[in-house]
Symmetry: C2
Subunit: 96 residues, 2 copies
Amino acid sequence: MTSKHLEVNGYNPINMKAHVFVSLKKTVLDPQGKTIHSALKKMGYQDIADVRQGKFFEVTLREGLDKTAANAEVERIAREVLTNPVIEEFQYRIQD
Amino acid sequence: MTSKHLEVNGYNPINMKAHVFVSLKKTVLDPQGKTIHSALKKMGYQDIADVRQGKFFEVTLREGLDKTAANAEVERIAREVLTNPVIEEFQYRIQD
């Protein structure tokens, strides 16, 4: 990804965004996804084999934060606040 | 993206997956995101400027569906079933 803004000594004048995706672990039943899947089948969408639902969070970071700090902060929030580690797993992506 | 499986005449022996992301339009208030944001601030995470929450769906397509058909099916489902066009917008991505 190329940066379209000026960056001076690592200072980032534009708010970075991060996307955090939280989904149920593969081994955990997803009744909401199953409901959507059976509704789709009844509506005539026959090409779907399975549906699982998850959550995502668009996190805007404060201006001036560098990418390393952003990574650390977002991972910590995803792990400690947004995800229930017993039944969920997360992925995240920083973009600027 | 490179395909790691054999594909004969467009027949895809592996179930493709699609990810559909549904989020509130930028102009629509997101009280749930605001709540998460203020909770994070109270917990000491000071580098966050904003949080918005959305949903995502992992859709597994039936075996043998080609990519063009998959694209059409997933876009139709995202537009007509998973998204409320008044307040939400969607993005999707097919991966195999």
